[in-house]
């Protein structure tokens, strides 16, 4: 089987993206937080169960925010990066403006995935009442934070100018800016 050589600008973001994809599995499967409160059974929550609990309590808007930031955004980022890397690697750069919009979106939404990491950290620090109530972080949050950092590094490592390499260097617009 002939294996094509990776484009120079693709290798680093691809490596970060694959590592992030692998980390997203334990991040979503393992518990991210342990909650214990007097009078109720202690329980572990995953990212997804945290969202469903918010929705069950009637906090739909917050559930939607957490779902978007913690589940949708990392997946969208990876899908967007995959689309960009595939386009650059296979030289299918026919619609560079659209690819640029994808890159801009990935860049913009990147940091919002940190929401759950801050949330777990904050809850752990705020709720420390011994036997009365206690919240503790679990391994899933470490994997999730790792995945977030890796997707951000992948975006950072991608050079958007690669999208434009097939376009003429001295582009002259019909209209002035």
């Amino acid at each position: 089987m002939k294996v094509g050589r990776l484009h120079e600008g693709v290798a680093a973001p691809l490596a970060y993206s694959i590592a992030a994809l692998f980390l997203l599995v334990p991040a979503n499967v393992l518990p991210v937080m342990y909650v214990a409160s007097a009078g109720s059974t202690p329980y572990n929550t995953t990212i997804f169960s945290g969202v469903t609990m918010l929705c069950r309590d009637g906090l739909w808007a917050l559930g939607a925010i957490v779902f978007t930031a913690s589940i949708l955004v990392p997946l969208l980022k990876l899908a967007g990066l995959a689309r960009l890397l595939w386009a650059v690697q296979t030289n299918r750069l026919t619609n560079p403006r659209r690819l640029m919009r994808i890159f801009g979106t990935i860049e913009f939404i990147g940091k919002w995935s940190m929401l759950d990491v801050f949330l777990v950290g904050y809850l752990t620090g705020a709720v420390r009442f011994g036997a009365l109530a206690r919240i503790a972080p679990r391994d899933g949050i470490v994997a999730f934070a790792g995945a977030v950092v890796l997707t951000m590094l992948a975006t950072h490592a991608f050079d958007p100018r690669l999208i434009w390499r097939e376009q003429p260097k001295n582009f002259t617009p019909k209209e002035s800016i």
Binding site: D57, V117, F118, L119, A133, V142
Partner: protein
Amino acid sequence: MEETTHEWICRGCGQTHRAVTLRRGERARCVRCGRNLARRSWFGPNAPLAFALSAVALGIPALLLPFVTVSKFDNERISYVTTGAQALGAHNLNVLGAWVAVCAVLAPALLLGFLIYGSVAAPLERSSAVSAFAHRAVHAIQEWSMPEVHVLSVLVAFFKLGSLVDVEVGPGMYCYAASAVFTLMAWRSFTLDPEAAAHSEDVETLEGRA
């Protein structure tokens, strides 16, 4: 629009543009990829410095005053902006705790430092190298500065905690949120306002190469 001798190089596609003098509120986009090249702030060339100083002024009480007070059966616990990072460290998640501290406190503080440095030192020294350095530092740090995400996470936490404990917002939280808004405004007006980078002919060129 009046043309100047400066050049703007798009950070998205590398297209070179002859810089133009923008009116207040006006923005210039790359002719090739459509990315924002420059935008003249409504607030004038001193806006980044004013916003950054306001953010610092609010950031100090945000660090010192109580963020949130949580209570359960007469037991009260006051948390500060760094409580989350410290708590993660206390659970042997030192790297994660350090990372949270970097994104929530250290990176915003560094960002403000470079914004002030870029706004004050570059015009004083009339050096394009100083300004270029400040712009590159601001761009590099901004990505990891997340006070706005931290504020949102604390707001989500209020609702999550509602059924478990009693929560009271402290003055530190208001100061931190306001500081985050001013930091964002300072960054936006610093990186895109051509007047703020008036003494840096090669700022955009260097950024384009970065």
